[in-house]
Each structure stands twice: as C-alpha cells, then as structure tokens.
C-alpha cells in the first residue's frame, strides 16, 4: 500500500554535531542518518564537519575517516572499495549509489547520506536485506536443465549466445535500483523489483537454461512483474550502468510472445 509518510518510530530527528580539527579550508559537511537499535530513540541525522585534506576522494573514504577520527559508533557495510561487491550501497545526495565509487567532489554543499530507501534499518546505514534476498531466492537463480549432463565436458555456449548475457551478469546485487523504485516502495512485499527481475531475465536469456517456460509462467503475475510502470528510476540510478527497466521489458515481451 502507498504510505507517503514514515511510521511514528521512523521519523527522523536532529542529532549531534561533530567537528574535526585541522586545516579549515578543505572541509566538507556530512549529514548522516543514524539509528541505534539498543536505545528506544527515533533515528536522527548527525552533522559531521570533516577535514578532508587527508582523506581519499570517495564518499566511502570520508565515512571511514569519520569512523576513525570523529565517531567510532558510525556503522556501515563496506568491503571491496572498488564497486564490485555492492556492500556500501546507500542513498547519497538524494540518489542511490555505491559510496566507494561516488566522488566527494561531485556533491556541492553538505553531503546527505541515508540508508537505501524504504527498508527496515538494522543500524545507521545498514538496511535489512532479508526480504529482498528471499525474493531473489524465489526466482531460483541457478541453471536449470532437463537434458542429461555430458560427462566429459561442461555445458557449452556459443560466443553469440554468451553476448546475450552482457549487461546482466555484471549486476552486483547492491539493490540501489530496487530501493529507488517508487513502485517497489509501495508494493515491495509482492512486487519483485528491478534487481530481482533483472536476475530473472538473466536466467531466461541464458541459452543453456532449459526452464524458461516455467520461469515465465511464475513471473506472469500482476504484482510480481507488472507493478513495473516504466518509471525508470532503476536505470537512472544503477551504479554499474546496467538497464533493469530494459530487462523487465524483455520479460514482458517474452510473455506476450508466448501467449
């Protein structure tokens, strides 16, 4: 259901101010969403005034600086720091992206950092992704075959068939797209969302997979698939430059051709 306003326990309050010492010319303000599960307080936005002269160029570098120098309680996920793991997906300056590939200098004025939108928050910038992983599991993201395996070799694929997977296999499952989609905000319990649907298409498009029919049958549902209204926020925000909207359109066309 569409609920435009946040529930009572989620309303964001003003938080604390932190300021780092040092060079006063090269500073940047960060307004960061905080939520402490061990207290009964509502989430708040803390204000960090950071000297960035010794920090790296990315927002993730700044977050690490803040954690090291100003406030060790700040919590966020990060791992590869080069845009291949998808851990540090968050809402920066109003759009979803990876903190590790977003330049500090790309944002004018204070940088607002929030967790991925419309998600249950575990702590600070860490959203609970259980629901979305469950949805991912529901599309059975593995190769399904009916013909017998050839014992002495793997299932082969022509270079041309392999090309069909370009723009799909690169997805790192950061869920920037799904959590940017207003339709997923309102119907995320039933609508699968762009990330999961792109994965669904990745297996339908795979020439080695022999379960396309069953996959399409399962997707033909007014909620799972057809809550996509071609808003295109997903494609706009994808930090890997992929096109989930196009993938969803491909599924719709395939279902149409089959009926």
């Amino acid at each position: 259901m569409v609920e435009l306003l946040l529930p009572k326990n989620s309303k964001v309050k003003n938080g604390k101010n932190f300021k780092s010492k040092g060079n006063n010319k090269n500073r940047k303000k960060f307004l960061i969403y905080r939520y402490d599960p061990d207290s009964n307080d509502n989430p708040r936005v803390d204000n960090y005034d950071l000297d960035i002269s010794n920090s790296g160029p990315m927002v993730l570098d700044a977050l690490i600086s803040i954690k090291n120098k100003l406030d060790p309680t700040l919590t966020f996920r990060r791992s590869c720091r080069e845009g291949v793991c998808g851990s540090c997906a968050m809402n920066i300056d109003g759009t979803n992206t990876l903190a590790c590939t977003k330049y500090i200098s790309d944002v004018k004025g204070p940088i607002k950092v929030y967790p991925l939108p419309h998600m249950p928050v575990i702590k600070d910038l860490v959203p609970d992704l259980k629901g979305i992983y469950k949805q991912y599991n529901s599309i059975e993201p593995w190769l399904k075959t009916k013909t017998a395996n050839n014992e002495d070799r793997e299932r082969i694929q022509s270079p041309k068939d392999r090309e069909d997977l370009d723009g799909l296999y690169e997805c790192i499952m950061c869920f920037c797209c799904s959590t940017s989609c207003p339709s997923y905000w309102w119907n995320g319990d039933k609508y699968l969302g762009p990330a999961v649907l792109l994965q669904a298409w990745r297996w339908i498009a795979d020439s080695r997979d022999e379960a396309s029919e069953e996959r399409l049958e399962k997707l033909q549902d007014s909620f799972k698939l057809y809550r996509c209204h071609t808003i295109m926020n997903c494609t706009k925000t994808c930090p890997k430059g992929l096109n989930p909207a196009k993938a969803i359109s491909n599924i719709k066309k395939k279902i149409l051709a089959r009926n």
């Binding site: 435009l4 946040l6 529930p7 326990n9 989620s10 964001v12 969403y33 939520y35 599960p37 061990d38 207290s39 009964n40 509502n42 989430p43 809402n91 300056d93 109003g94 759009t95 607002k112 929030y114 967790p115 991925l116 939108p117 419309h118 998600m119 249950p120 928050v121 575990i122 959203p127 609970d128 940017s180 207003p182 905000w185 209204h229 071609t230 808003i231 295109m232 926020n233 494609t235 706009k236 096109n243 909207a245 196009k246 359109s249 491909n250 719709k252 066309k253």
Partner: protein, 123 residues
C-alpha cells in the same frame, strides 16, 4: 538484538526528484484530472438537456476564475497524457530504454505538451 521493531528508512522525502519519476507521477495525476474533466463535459451535456437556465449556470462557472483554471489544467493534462501515452507505447514495444533516450523523449513530450496546450488554449 533488543529492538526488533526496526524503523523504515526515509524514501519519498529524501529521494531526489528527477525527470524519470516526475514525468511518471505527472502521468498519473493528469490521468486523474482527465476523469474530472470528463465529469465537466457530462455536466455540460446535462445542462444542455435541462434547458437555458441550467446552461447559464454552467457557463457562469466555466467563465469564473475557478472554471478557467480548471479548463487550463484540463487542456494541459490532456495534451501531456496523450504524448506521454505515446512514449509509454514505444516503451511497451521495447524502444527507448537507454537513459539518453529516456531524457530525450521526456524533454520532447514536455515541449510538445506546451505547444499543443497553448494552441488549444488560444483557440
């Protein structure tokens, strides 16, 4: 974990408005507005049926500022909904999904809406 009642992260209030989402919600709103516009047309036909006096009442509403404002929005939402509808048909056929084309078609329909809306308004 003590607190299982996890808060919901902010969404609409913090997400940056952009061509993609703004044109999409405008499509809905202009659709709703057209249903209202249809009502106005039905009332016009009814007033014609009921006789001169009723029609005069009707026209006095249409010529009031409120009426004019309504007609203004009705005409623009009609033009917008039509052009964006064509854009949606192209998407349904599988065209125009590259981000560059989404912006190009978006600006094009805004431009066409302004032209057609102004043209209809003048006539």
């Amino acid at each position: 974990m003590k607190n299982k009642n996890r808060p919901l992260s902010p969404h609409l209030s913090i997400y940056k408005p952009q061509i993609t989402s703004i044109l999409s919600i405008s499509h809905r709103i202009s659709g709703v507005f057209q249903s209202l516009g249809l009502l106005i047309i039905i009332i016009l036909l009814l007033s014609l049926l009921l006789g001169e006096n009723y029609h005069k009442y009707y026209m006095s509403f249409i010529e009031s500022y409120l009426g004019k404002l309504f007609i203004f929005f009705y005409i623009f939402s009609l033009s917008y909904h039509m052009f964006n509808g064509i854009r949606h048909i192209l998407w349904d056929l599988g065209f125009g999904f590259e981000m560059k084309n989404v912006y190009y078609s978006g600006y094009t329909i805004i431009f066409l809406t302004l032209i057609l809306g102004t043209f209809l308004l003048i006539n």
